[in-house]
Amino acid sequence: MIVRFAGDSGDGMQLTGAQFTAETALLGNDISTLPDFPAEIRAPAGSLPGVSGFQLHFADHDILTPGDAPNVLVAMNPAALKTNLKDLPKGGTLIVNADAFNERNLQKAGYTSNPLEDGSLDEYQLHKVPLTTLTVGALKDVEGVTPREAERAKNMFALGLMSWLYGRPIEPTIEFLRAKFGAKRPELAEANVKALQAGYAFGETTETFAVTYEVKPAKMAPGTYRNITGNQALAYGLIAASKLSGLPLFLGAYPITPASSILEELASYKHFGVRTFQAEDEIAAAGAAVGASFGGALGVTTSAGPGIVLKAETVGLAVMLELPLVICDIQRAGPSTGMPTKPEQGDLLMVLHGRNGESPVPVVAARSPSDCFDAAIEAARIALKYRTPVYLLSDAYLANGSEPWLLPDVSELPDISTTFATEPNAGDAFLPYLRDEQTLARPWAPPGTPGLEHRIGGLEKSDRTGNVSYDPDNHDLMTRLRAQKVAGIAADIPELEVDDPDGEARVLVLGWGGTYGPIAAAVRRVRASGRKVAHAHLRHLNPFPRNTGEVLRRYERVLVPEMNLGQLLKLVRSEFLVDAVGYNRVRGLPLRASEVAQAIEALIDHE
């Protein structure tokens, strides 16, 4: 079942969606969510750009995406109807706030006639509910609440109605409202609770809704679950990495959508020894993280594309210094400012190649909101072990989307501890670029270590001693050593797994990062149609898993779906000489499983 709430930015749709999600998660359904909101905090009320939406997919079975098209659309005003109706299949359920369909709002949304009356919605199951009137009516006896506040509680009325319709418990939301407003404005908490209850009661008593829907708990692996968004999981992953490595976490960040919530989240965990530094700019944020790393901390910086380009200089320095640094790029649609709240996978080639000189940097990508936790630990592991900057890629969809997360056993998380140099490593001398034979990592000797005083910098280093060197052969050697060190990580990461149940598929779908859900869902559909298809999904994009070429060559055709114009495609074609083809959409939305499925089927049927 896929439900979409859509309304004005000020209508509280994100809150409504989040609470419906919380109620649903507690019932044990599998869930996947997609908040979709404008970058403007409050675009003009009632306007098309001001529409904010929240889509929730829940089911009694394992699901992989927030869903392509909703079964139910709740539209709080004409603009929300106009921008979202195209996604609602014919026959879908449409619940609208009839009160909002006045002449002014219709005009703002560009309607010349009222769609609630002109028959244009005849093909949908239309429910016209005067949400505003009913809410204000239900709250007329609540004292201390302004008429404006009463009207604004209509989102809770809508939530109550939807909760009844799908048999969700409203108690968690009542607790939430009391906790949110209770201390400062108990009367406001009660008004919202009352609106919620009135909506629930309205569903029960009115005969408008002939059926209620029951969605049973999904069959999920046993264990303790919680709902989590990608950015929250990423922040937790960084805290875990700090604990698992025994190093204090330092985050340098500059506010930017959609990465800011990582900074905000981490700022609230100072009791974990987390230092957060809101810098004067993106460059300083990265620089301070490198400074903290030099001092022996786990240095991290977070941003999105427009900030990542500014950090390129610092990342290059970290490549030369060979110090650990984790750079999180929560990708959003570009170029330039692009579409700040919308996801894209457009930064892959930038993080791989967007620096001067031969400047190899490992890249790790998260595949789902909860996977951001594990991906963050993995990025930190590589950074610490190989003394290198590591890019961690997420995107706006993973960042804000949520899903149930089977909580890991803390004792089973990987040990990513590292050792500092404490003694001279060449007789009485300390050579800061004398490498570990196996990893090629150089020793990490933070200031404060007696006897190991040394200088590092962005100028080319002499092998072993780390002194400034312009020697031609030394530069050639050092360039190759840095490349070899990163390439060697391939031996230290898992092989690429292929989901090919009976091994008979001739077409492989290769994805990376945040497209995991839509691609996996598409693969299920294709298999349900009787066709055979294999799916492999990359977490490591530099270096690639050591068996990647072998996997690609095992299949006759390779399809690479991406939310860009073919960046991984370009890499696999050049690296492995494989004639892969792309499926590319850059709409600022997650890929649609149905469309990916069509592309796979077309490739299979064409063979």
Binding site: A25, L26, G28, P172, P217, M220, A221, P222, T224, Y225, R226, N227, Y236, I239, K243, P248, F250, G252, Y269, K270, H271, F272, G273, V274, R275, F277, A279, E280, D281, I283, A284, G287, A288, A289, V290, G291, A292, S293, F294, G295, G299, T314, L317, L321, L407, P408, V410, P447, G448, T449, P450, L452, E453, H454, R455, I456, G457, G458, N467, V468
Partner: protein
């Protein structure tokens, strides 16, 4: 063992030689940087801080080579970014004595943003700005402190940029310690550096430095001023007088500006580096050779304000007191959870 500034109370017996590295110093013959390096190497033992707890961080430019020649921990980083990098280090490692070496282009042009923000935050850094009023490493373009009309290779008809006054900028950026020294004045520089090192928080020191190749004698009027004709030496609590026989003085007018006057005239200004209000220090920073016939050196401003790293450490401590030491399993299980069996 050590106080929060990395000071070890002089129990160590290091000498200038201990602070030299095996790297060949590669500045041009006659460069003012040699004098500054020698002065710093001689001065450092006086601090009594073990070498391993001293860090020099620089950006790019001639001055930025400095860390390679100091036998401490060091980082030669990227253009203009040293204050940002040093902020991360000083914030996580309050036990270190962190020094930033920068130039007029590095600090005031490409790194201007980082400089002002480090100063306003009062990060525990000592920032030494070698000001030679020219770009040296890139071979002679005008800098943000070059005088208006400066003819250089990039400004054949004269520069159009009104220059920065580095001290005015630092004071405007809420710096808690602001001083000026001269590369060749070893004693004066040691005095200023001593005060900077003792200052808890950001200390900003402009060092007038000569570039003999691209801007020779830019500071000749104070640098070679052995008789003190042009140097106005600021001393806290003392009347501000200078001149061959101390015949000149400064006084403050009711509008806050400062003018030169005779030493025997009424109202000679008594220097107060600790004045809470930055306006006096700012007015002194506007006293120049061109406008007043003298150039002040010494400590302009030296006030106390909580430092960034101390306040951050306090927040961490308070958070732990309130919530207990962070527990990872507890964190993961926070919020609404449910069990599937």
């Amino acid at each position: 063992m050590s106080d929060a500034n990395g000071n070890g109370h002089g129990r160590l017996t290091l000498t200038a030689k201990d602070f030299r590295t095996d790297q060949e110093v590669r500045w041009c013959p006659g460069c003012g940087d040699y004098a500054i390096l020698a002065a710093l190497q001689s001065f450092m033992p006086e601090l009594g801080i073990p070498r391993e707890r001293i860090v020099f961080i620089s950006g790019i430019g001639c001055a930025a080579r400095f860390p390679y020649y100091m036998n401490t921990y060091g980082m030669h980083s990227i253009h203009g970014r040293a204050p940002a990098i040093a902020t991360g280090l000083a914030t996580t490692r309050p036990d270190l004595s962190v020094w930033v070496v920068t130039g007029d282009g590095d600090a005031l042009s490409i790194g201007g943003n980082h400089l002002i923000h480090a100063l306003r935050r009062n990060v525990n850094l000592k920032i030494l700005l070698f000001n030679n009023r020219i770009y040296g490493l890139t071979k002679g373009q005008y800098s943000p402190t070059s005088e208006l009309g400066k003819v250089t290779k990039s400004t054949p008809m004269g520069s159009l940029d009104w220059p920065f006054n580095p001290l005015s900028l630092a004071i405007g950026a809420e710096a808690t310690f602001v001083a000026r020294a001269i590369d060749t004045d070893k004693a004066g520089m040691a005095e200023v550096l001593r005060a900077a090192a003792e200052h808890r928080g950001s200390a900003f020191v402009e060092i007038l430095q000569n570039c003999p190749i691209f801007n020779d004698d830019a500071w000749a009027f104070v640098r070679d001023d052995k008789e003190g004709v042009n140097r106005i030496v600021l001393r806290h609590g003392e009347p501000i007088r200078w001149g061959k026989d101390g015949e000149k003085a400064l006084r403050q007018l009711p509008d806050g500006t400062i003018e030169a006057c005779g030493a025997d005239e009424d109202g000679v200004l008594v220097h107060d580096e600790t004045h809470e209000e930055p306006s006096l220090a700012f007015a002194l920073s506007r006293v120049t050779q061109a406008t007043h016939g003298g150039t002040p050196v010494g400590v302009f401003r030296n006030v106390s304000r909580p430092t960034y790293d101390e306040m951050m450490a306090d927040q961490l401590r308070v958070a732990e007191e309130r919530r207990g030491k962070g527990d990872l399993a507890e964190l993961l299980h926070s919020g609404e959870t449910w069990v599937v069996s």
